[in-house]
């Protein structure tokens, strides 16, 4: 069974199955995979398209979710279907050729699914940093103050050259780090993605045009600190268990 948690692990491993399995074991696995491959679907948003106004417009949210995220889901399913065919056909070059498409579209699906969950309407209790007591304490310990963290995170976001994402991640037991990833590369090195911010131009351009610094300033109003706290206190698998419930 391929589910989103396994997709995450798959992307981390990036190894063609046939390179680690052989003979009967390999055939049994591929037959099993071919018969049980999951088709991914677009998760529903936990709020309305206009719920993040005025910080993110309804038009942006609708296009971003129903068009962009949908395209990643569609192309991920296509790539995985071809990949299964390559595995069954013992076509290793074919499997390798598909890895970039799986990484890009699978990463796009993972990143956006995490992103929707770590946003919340500004008026909700979840959008108040008080909803993340333990995370806030760890942030202050790491960066000195909450404001210093926000500055560091914003600087990292604005330093991205081209399309990409900024993430606050938990590394190990409680170590916090800011990482940026290019294009749709997901965070799959074992870190827990606490929250992410999409810095592709499609995430802000219709509203902010070239003024991405204003988008970065405003995104702080709609971070879901409740989700961030839950992810911070949990493991990688927990982050995706939360996701699976919405899929």
């Amino acid at each position: 069974m391929v589910n989103i948690g396994n997709l995450w692990q798959y992307l981390a491993a990036q190894a063609p199955l046939s390179s680690v399995l052989s003979g009967d074991q390999f055939n049994a696995t591929t037959n099993n995979m071919a018969s049980s491959i999951t088709t991914y679907t677009l998760p529903q948003l936990p709020y309305a398209y206009d719920a993040l106004e005025p910080y993110i417009s309804a038009q942006i949210m609708e296009l971003h979710h129903s068009k962009h995220h949908q395209a990643y889901v569609t192309n991920l399913n296509k790539a995985l279907e071809s990949h299964i065919a390559s595995v069954v056909g013992n076509d290793i070059p074919g499997q390798i050729a598909l890895q970039q498409a799986i990484k890009f579209n699978g990463g796009g699906h993972i990143n956006h699914s995490l992103f929707w969950q770590n946003l919340a309407p500004a008026s909700s209790a979840d959008a108040k940093p008080e909803a993340a007591k333990e995370l806030a304490a760890a942030i202050e310990k790491t960066w000195g103050s909450f404001d210093d963290f926000k500055k560091a995170f914003s600087t990292a976001l604005l330093g991205i050259q081209g399309s990409g994402w900024g993430w606050l991640v938990k590394d190990g037991i409680s170590g916090l780090r800011i990482v940026t990833t290019k294009d749709q590369d997901p965070v799959v090195g074992g870190e827990v993605p606490v929250f992410g911010v999409d810095m592709w131009e499609h995430a802000y351009y219709l509203q902010y045009l070239n003024g991405k610094a204003a988008y970065v300033d405003n995104i702080w109003n709609v971070i879901n600190w409740k989700t961030a706290e839950d992810r911070f206190l949990g493991t990688c698998d927990d982050a995706f268990a939360l996701l699976k419930a919405s899929l």
Binding site: K67, Q161, G162, S163, E201, H202, L206, L209, N210
Partner: protein
Amino acid sequence: MSSTLLRTTPALRGALRASGAVKPAAGLATSFVRGKATLPDLSYDYGALEPYISSKIMELHHSKHHQTYVTGLNSALESIAKAEEAKDFAKAATFAPLLNFHGGGHLNHTLFWENLAPASREGGGEPDGALKSAISSDFGSFDSFRKQMNTSLAGIQGSGWAWLVKDKTSGTLGIVTRANQDPVSGNFEPLLGIDAWEHAYYLQYENRKAEYFDAIWNVVNWKTVAQRFGKA
């Protein structure tokens, strides 16, 4: 390279030409007199590429985005010069990514503006002469080239550019893509560039980027492309 890339005050131009370098005055020990990159003017109005590229896109793209690359390039060059002056070469090297990004952005956009033209003037149609023959021989036909270019553009994952290039060794034409603002360099001479960053089309085409890639052929300036081909 295009003379519009590094424009200086008139007084400096003579010195630049004489030395053939950006850093003209070897005799000035501590304070470099250097050429600053400036935003080149467009040879057409912001609305001139309508309806294929909207006036609003052109204005933001040129006056804001391209300007930011120019400013960033000058700032990177300044930082490198300061580090060089302090003989801190390790520090100078740390500015390489900024130089590549902003320098590439300046170069790419300058080439891009010049290889576009209003559909009512030189824009659109098909190339003729030696360029037409080369495209036919290297891609099968002009239509086939256009399809291959659009496939390359659609395949860019994230921000980037697609280019028709000439291989300086073999003389053949090819299509390459570049991530972000990485410029075409080395053995390839860029002939025609198409910007696939979302800021190049999103206000008009939103997520329907294939429509933008179809439309832009109406404003490609084949005269410019042919001139680049002739010189390469």
